[in-house]
Symmetry: D2
Subunit: 140 residues, 4 copies
């Protein structure tokens, strides 16, 4: 259970301090979640309902650097009525767990209709895929 | 008092949803703060002491889109011994204040020595520039 | 006559060699041309006819580096029936001419219908704007 | 013989026309070549001799789109005394050959000393690796 998205670095991901720039961690989170939504939740980016970023955050714990191969570990922090908050970690490829994560982060998608961009319920296919495939937080 | 950093958008900042991608807001914050540090605080990115990102976050309030011209409003949320947390907003160029911000965010820099990358006190020139030029939060 | 597009650099434009990464020159060219097309040629990126990149090239002459402010000088190399080849240079902001360009490049747009993406004639508004506002090469 | 570098796309690689932006092809070429140089030619980006981009070009043949997985096919167009011109193609992952390439391109590196940035001969380890592992053009 769970999902790991491979995320190899690119030459231009390193900034002038010689390590992966902080903005690239967000590219990793955005890419991992959207790929999972497309492949497992039936998201069609050209379809009627899409997920827009409402908030995101990241804590940087250790430096990564091209040409490393990274992975994004995808879990769910909160499954709401119209939004999902993803619970994410950036890891060395093949790392056994989050204990040595390069970074941990959160990313909140609100689902909207593509035209009017007003919130709509999380599509059933996505809700079902989340419940079947991803770690959810313990209910309080 | 305060600092506004101009941030014109680029063609490739828009993603397939036709608006500025969420990761670009972080490029805006990172660029505004580092430019200010170089021009007003004497930061030399090739020098002995540099500022590394420890954490960042952003709340997305309204969509922006190329070819808009944006501005980043830079204030200080917390001036610590070895770190500064910036209090930022992304605005339409020329917006009078933050009331219609496209996004608000935070960005924490920890200052380290370039070689060993261990925390060091915020350089005096930067501390003095912050106190002289930027809005600080009211002391509790 | 002619068009200069301001292009301030971003922190993450510098790669680990401490200068503007080669891919950013293409962001500059793409951005300058599309902004001109939108503002002067009536291009609507969500409209019926759009311009797609068919080819591009760049020669890198001298290094640029954040926090420099650059400009893209836009001219026309060839105005064809369904395509335009732009003749571009990346300059220090305010540079009098191309004699000290950081880079020179070319960028060929082919105009297509948005849905089928088949070549169509250069829209009249764009052709007229090019002929009125931009330097064209001498006819052979 | 030859080298294929995997290049999965990222969410933000797609621009508002819904396909991989033209600048990302250059990220792919730059990343493939530098990874090969580091892993097979002994290039140390923090070492004495580095390779800087002198020129690049790309012809865009067919659109690619996130979440595709691409590959860069790396060959050598010209092995000079102080420079190498790479002969590159962007392919669908697993494509048998270049017949259906999304794009073909060239990228010229000139080797320089890191400090003075003056041309130096192609390092022996790189020259040997090129001759052993990569397809070279037929001698005229």
């Amino acid at each position: 259970m769970g999902y790991r998205h491979p995320f190899p670095l690119r030459w231009n991901d390193n900034d002038q301090y010689g390590h992966m720039n902080n903005t690239v961690y967000y590219e990793a989170m955005d890419t991992a979640v959207n790929t999972w939504l497309i492949r497992h939740g039936g998201l069609d980016p050209a379809g009627d309902v899409i997920g827009l970023a409402r908030a995101s955050s990241c804590e940087f714990l250790a430096p990564a650097s091209f040409p490393e191969e990274l992975e994004v570990d995808v879990a769910v922090g909160r499954l709401g009525r119209t939004s999902i908050t993803w619970d994410l970690a950036i890891l060395r490829a093949g790392a056994p767990d989050r204990s040595e994560a390069y970074a941990t982060g959160a990313f909140t998608h609100v689902f909207v209709d593509q035209v009017g961009r007003r919130p709509v319920p999380v599509p059933e296919a996505i809700r079902a895929a989340v419940e079947r495939h991803l770690p959810l937080p313990p209910t309080a």
